[in-house]
Symmetry: C2
């Protein structure tokens, strides 16, 4: 299930630091990689950063297409997240290899991955120096989606099993834990 | 308690996406702000990114000193994290106002905050375009520390109550949840 997310609230899908799957497509080819290194960069228009190593196939597809999607996997996809992070799409179709079903987004060609809890469709804001020197990409979020059982009306559903995942290293993750509130002014 | 963290493993303090407290100091003044928008950028030498809005007092101190620290607060500091994020250091000393004890780092002048679980001392890698256009700062991690009850030998301690926190919005956080592993090649 998925519903559109108001772009002004889309940063909240990434604000708590989940690990993401980066999808990309160009000229009939598509790919998926894992990334722990992404974050929101701005609210309006919403922007994100993500590190895409220069050796990856994803890098070639993102630079050629000027687009990428950040898919926020559920724990159900934790094994696939590590698997797609340890093989190159140059060696074969990782969607087929790891049984990742996809659907079409609304603004970009990169496929979006089923069983995720949220999705951010992004267009690259070209910043050649950052890309070349730091493998750092900036994207403007042009569409966002979420599973309404988990995130709706611009908020994570209280007490939902959020199920996003936070990669450490060596196959180890933290689950997203319980929500709590503190006082605000 | 704190012990040094091998710089090569310091990215693991941030890899799972915790919210951080950014500390800074210049010419006898110091400050602290909250930031959900930070991430690792590189392994060796370790680098991080963090968004520091141009309207903040922290921004002035970081640009003047070329240094900042990322402090990873425990849940004990969740209220203080929201509090320091909602007031400017131009209005008064937030360390005193919110009872934040500090200690001296080894490489930079910015104070480090007690009761955090990890600390990254950083020197700004000047990137004027990123700073001016995106409020985006890149820092090289020049020293790192962690509470050995929670992170030691380059790893989060299994089944420790990690206690880092992940900000959403409006005073709401997720706790860091349980650790789990999947298979690696």
């Amino acid at each position: 299930m998925r519903q559109p997310v108001d772009l002004a609230k889309s940063y909240r899908l990434l604000n708590h630091g989940p690990t993401v799957l980066v999808t990309s497509a160009h000229a009939g080819a598509s790919n998926v990689m894992a990334a722990a290194w992404s974050m929101p960069l701005d609210f309006d228009p919403p922007k994100v950063t993500v590190v895409i190593d220069r050796t990856t196939y994803t890098r070639a597809l993102v630079e050629a297409s000027g687009e990428f999607a950040l898919n926020i996997p559920s724990r159900k996809l934790a094994q696939a997240t590590v698997d797609v992070g340890s093989r190159s799409g140059r060696e074969g179709d990782k969607f087929a290899q790891y049984g990742l079903a996809t659907f079409q987004g609304s603004q970009i060609a990169a496929p979006l991955i089923e069983d995720c809890v949220g999705w951010l469709e992004c267009r690259v804001i070209p910043e050649r120096h950052n890309q070349d020197r730091y493998d750092l990409f900036i994207g403007e979020v042009v569409a966002a989606w979420a599973d309404p059982a988990i995130f709706r009306d611009g908020r994570w559903v209280p007490d939902a099993d959020v199920g996003s995942i936070h990669y450490i290293a060596g196959g180890a993750f933290f689950e997203t834990g319980k929500g709590f509130h503190v006082e605000t002014d």
